[in-house]
Amino acid sequence: MLDKSNLLDTRQIATFIARGVLRFDGLMDDAFNQAFLEGYAAGRTESNPAGTPLSRCFPGGGPARELLGMPRVLGIIQSLVGPDPRFDHQAYHVREGSDERSQHLHQDATIDPRRQHFDIQLMYFPQAVTPEMGGTRYVPGTHLRIVSETSVARYQNMRGQVHVVCPAGTVIVVHHGIWHGAGCNRSGKRRVMYKVRLNPVVRQCRLWNTDDLDARALTPRVAHNPKDRDETDVQNILCSSEPWFEDDTRRIEWVNRIQLWRVMVGNPTADAHYWATRLENQP
C-alpha cells in the first residue's frame, strides 16, 4: 500500500489540469541515476507489449522497473492515472550531441478528442541537462488543444515555451496532449531521456491525496476580484493564463479545464470563477 504522503496534492492536480505538466527537479538521487544509465547501457531495456499492466511489464527487472517502482514516482502515477495503469510504450530518447536541427513541434500519437480522460507521459532525465544539450522543449497549456500530431510544426516558437534545463534525476510528467519537441543537442555529449506512456484503467476521479480539497476549491465565486490574487488558490490556478494564449480562447481554455476538473473531483457543478455556471444557466 502506497503511503499517501507520496501522492500529489490538490494544487498539483489543478496545476496539471491547467498546464498539462508537472515537474520534479532532482527527484532521483545520483546513485539511482548512475545505476539507471548503467542498466540502459547494458541493454536492460526490454518490456512486455503495449496493454500490459504496469506491474507486470518488466518481468526481467531493469532500470525502468526500478524507476517506476519508486514510491514517489508511483505516487505521481497513481495520482493521475490510478494504481497499476496500462503500459502503452516506452522510449529511450538519445541525442548524440551533434544535431543540426531541432525537432518540429508536435503532439504525440494521433488526433485525440478525449477531454475528460487522459494518458500521461513520464519523462526522466538521468543526467543533468545544460542549455547546450537541447533538452526537450514543451509548451505549457497546449494539452487541451485538439490537433493532429505535427500539424502544429508551423509554430516555430511560442511565447512561454520551456526548454528543459534540469539537474540529474528530474522527472517531468505531462498530459498526452502537450505540444513538445526535442531540442538541438550541440554539446558534443550524449543526452539520454527515458519516456513512458501510461493509460488509465480506472475513472480518473479523486486519485490523489484529497486531504486539502475543501469547499473553497469547489464553490463558484466571482471572477473579477482584484483582492483574489492568491496563486496557490485552486480556482486561480485553473483560471491561470499562458503567454501564448489568444485573448478570447483563454476563456475557452478555462471552461475546458473546469470540465476536466469536474470529472476529476467527481462534482458536476464544481466551477472556477463562475465561468461554467454562467453558461449553464437556461431557466
Partner: protein, 96 residues
C-alpha cells in the same frame, strides 16, 4: 536565375487586430542567409503585426474570422490569428 528571394514571416496574434500582441511566430529565409528552426528564439521578432508592417514586411494574408460550428463552440485547436508577411530580398545587392 532570378536574384530575388522571398523571406516569409508568420505571426500569430492575440486577437484579430493587426496591432495586437504576437504570441507565436515563424521565420523562413529564402536567401539562405539565416537558418531558423523550432525553438530557436524565446522572444518574437516584433511585438505586434503592425510593428512588422512598419519595418517593411508586406502582409500577404490574414486568417479569416469564422464562427464556431454548432456544438464546437468550446473546441480549441490551432492558433486563430495568423498573419503571413513577406519581404523580397535582392540576393545580388549584398554581394561584393
Amino acid at each position: 536565375m532570378a536574384r530575388w528571394r522571398q523571406q516569409v514571416l508568420i505571426l500569430y496574434l492575440s486577437n484579430s487586430c493587426l496591432d495586437s500582441r504576437v504570441v507565436s511566430w515563424a521565420v523562413y529565409d529564402g536567401t539562405g542567409r539565416e537558418a531558423h528552426m523550432p525553438g530557436d528564439s524565446d522572444q518574437p521578432p516584433y511585438e505586434t503585426g503592425l510593428a512588422a508592417l512598419k519595418d517593411g514586411w508586406r502582409l500577404l494574408q490574414l486568417s479569416q474570422l469564422l464562427p464556431a460550428s454548432a456544438g464546437q463552440e468550446f473546441v480549441v485547436s490551432y492558433q486563430r490569428y495568423e498573419c503571413v508577411f513577406e519581404k523580397l530580398e535582392d540576393t545580388d545587392a549584398r554581394q561584393v
